[in-house]
Amino acid sequence: MEIVLAFAIGTLAGSGIYLLLRPRTFQVIMGLSLLGYAVNLFIFGMGRLQSGAPPVIDAVRGTDPALYTDAVPQALVLTAIVIGFATTALFLVVLLASRGLSGTDHVDGRETENP
């Protein structure tokens, strides 16, 4: 399970960084989103992977910590998702404003002179 998660994070982060370095604003925002997903999975993984273990203590299972998964990273990842969502939306607005004001989707607001 760890290796699958590691590959998923690696693929997402790699494609995210590639897109982030591209010159078009849409590619940048996709890159940021992919990187955000990679980071969210990473936070999740930092709580150690365990399948079928609930984060909240219930009466039937008892209080042995080994039966439960760490609840803190789940709370963190939830916060991170919300914040990431908001900032992506904000960046989308800036992207559209830039497109409207400059007439191009280049991140510098003007096309580079290609031969």
């Binding site: 982030l20 604003t25 940048v28 940021l32 990187l35 955000g36 980071v39 990473f42 936070i43 930092m46 709580g47 150690r48 803190v72 990273p73 963190l76 916060t79 991170a80 914040i83 908001a86 900032t87 904000l90 960046f91 800036v94 992207l95 404003a97 830039s98 004001l101 400059s102 991140v107 510098d108 607001g109």
Partner: protein
């Protein structure tokens, strides 16, 4: 008895939140009451911050035992709940940000507030993020407050709109979003190996880590350091700054002068917490020292190359960041006190400088065009322009505007380049004196490098500012700019505060030295936050 006063540490976060919410809801109201609300909230924050400062340094009767105030949010005990911690450094930063914010807010009320929508609520959210970042004692909570202040700053940097602002703002947003992702990775890594997010407990747990776990922690701390260096605009992570600050509305750029210092604050906070466990590279030592020197060098070249005053001012902000980083990276801890003095002086001076520049360049075509474009883009100014002429004049123009501007510009230039007699000079002098006094072989070379960097950057600043100043002030092609008291007043107050710092240099320096000493007393910090555990054996 003083049960109410115990809740004082949460007020710097709650007040701006409440004010911002009310300002958002009252968007349709007249400008007068809204401005009064924003002013009242900011003034209240200044009062709260001053009271907290008085309580922390023992001048007022504190509402809590000991020097350090710990506020457990929701009453959850520290290692598990989130805490707010007020120590001397946090209180000083709170007062500094509230004072700067009040001045820039008053200035912006004169006319810049009208250049776009939602300026006042965004301003309060920015203050909330700043105050929270200074107060929090929890790593993830620090991330959240960073996001709050960044989200507000994204809005503010675009205030007034226009193609130039959107372009610079977009670069600013992308860089900071990426830095936020790094912050998340760092926080997750650190939590993964130490099992805690509480900063005081974290510092104790690190000492117990060995082998691979320690390596992972170092990696996390390294990423965290990089995030702080991006915020602090250290070379080579600072290419976003001159563009963003140069195009932002002047009062926004003025209040942004403290944003870079949030990164410096974060570095200093973690460097002192981790001082006993060999903090990794970005938190001190040679690495940070040379990074600071490189920042100063590159920014000095930038100051000389700048063709516009605002760009030069942006690079001067980077110079001050570099100076602080180099000071923290210097051998020993004696430079921290003078560095804090320098920090306060440079924040006030650069805040004032951005506003002086705008006033002095008023009426010159470039900035007038920008303002016209921004007023057009929002469309809502057409009616105001016809009734009130925001660009022309409302209110009374102050006499001798040019003389005032000249004096203010001159004072700011002296302050930022570190020439006598103002506090910029005192700060740089104290830094160099402390650096020379460090008794060590390698420290001598470092002291020489450090002194040379400070003096040369000052010289470059003088050259660049006099060249650009001549162009602005001896320009006969235009009418003298007209000012309002609302605009001139806050600028003058900021400069006068710097003068007061210079005249009270002795007591002020003693105070900052005491602040630095209490900062390095991590034992007291840990004991205040974790009264029971003590050695971090909660599990």
């Amino acid at each position: 008895m003083n049960g109410w006063l115990q809740h004082l540490p949460i007020l710097p976060v709650l007040l701006p939140l409440l004010a911002a919410a009310l300002l958002l809801l009252s968007g349709e109201m007249r400008r007068g009451p809204r401005a009064a609300m924003a002013l009242g909230a900011t003034l209240a924050q200044l009062v709260v911050a001053t009271v907290l400062l008085g309580m922390v340094d023992g001048r007022l009767n504190p509402a809590w035992p000991g020097d350090i105030a710990v506020y457990a949010l929701g009453g959850w005990a520290p290692p598990f709940g989130i805490v707010l911690v007020v120590d001397r450094l946090a209180a000083v930063m709170l007062v500094l940000s509230a004072a700067l914010a009040l001045a820039t807010l008053v200035y912006s009320l004169a006319r810049w507030e009208r250049a776009g929508a939602h300026y006042l609520p965004l301003f309060q959210f920015l203050l909330m993020g700043l105050n929270g970042a200074f107060l929090t004692g929890d790593l993830f909570n620090l991330f959240v407050f960073f996001e709050v202040l960044l989200a507000a700053s994204y809005g503010l940097v675009l205030h007034g709109s226009g193609a130039a602002r959107v372009k610079a703002g977009m670069h600013y947003i992308v860089v900071n979003l990426l830095a936020s992702l790094f912050f998340l990775i760092a926080a997750a890594l650190i939590y993964g190996v130490t099992g805690t997010l509480n900063m005081a407990e974290l510092a104790q747990r690190v000492a117990l880590l060995h082998g691979d776990e320690r390596t992972l922690f170092d990696l996390g701390a390294l990423l965290l350091g990089i995030v702080f260096l991006v915020k602090a605009a250290a070379w080579p992570l600072n290419f976003w700054l001159p563009g963003a600050y140069g195009t932002a509305a002047p009062p926004v750029a003025g209040v942004f002068a403290i944003l870079t210092k949030v990164g410096v604050y974060g570095l200093l906070r973690f460097a002192t917490l981790l001082q006993n466990v060999d903090a990794p590279a970005p938190f001190g030592g040679d690495w940070l020292f040379y990074c600071g020197l490189a920042t100063i060098a590159v920014a000095t070249v930038g100051v000389l190359a700048a063709q516009k005053l605002v760009r030069a001012a942006g690079f001067l902000v980077i110079v001050s960041s570099g100076t602080l980083l180099a000071a923290f990276g210097f051998t020993g801890t004696t430079l921290t006190g003078p560095a804090l003095y320098y920090l306060v002086s440079s924040v006030l001076a650069s805040g004032a400088f951005f506003m002086v520049i705008e006033m002095a360049e008023r009426g010159r075509t470039a900035s007038a065009d920008l303002l016209a474009v921004s007023f057009e883009a929002f469309g809502l100014q057409a009616k105001e322009a016809s009734s009130e002429h925001p660009d022309e004049m409302d209110g009374v123009a102050i006499p001798a505007a040019m003389a005032f501007l000249g004096l203010a510009f001159f004072s700011c230039a002296l302050l930022l380049t570190g020439l006598p007699p103002f506090s910029g000079f005192v700060g740089k002098f104290a830094l160099i004196a402390a650096a020379v006094a460090v008794p060590s072989e390698t420290a001598l070379l470092h002291a020489i490098l450090f002194g040379a960097a400070l003096l040369l950057s000052g010289l470059a600043g003088v050259v660049a500012l006099s060249r650009l100043g001549i162009r602005v002030f001896w320009d006969t092609e235009r009418p003298a700019p007209r000012l309002q008291w609302l605009e001139a007043g806050p600028t003058a107050v900021l400069v006068l505060l710097c003068m007061a710092l210079a005249f009270g240099a002795g007591p002020a320096m003693d105070y900052f030295d005491a602040t630095a000493r209490s900062l390095y007393d991590t034992r007291a910090y840990a004991d205040a936050v974790l009264p029971v555990a003590g050695t971090g054996t909660a599990e």
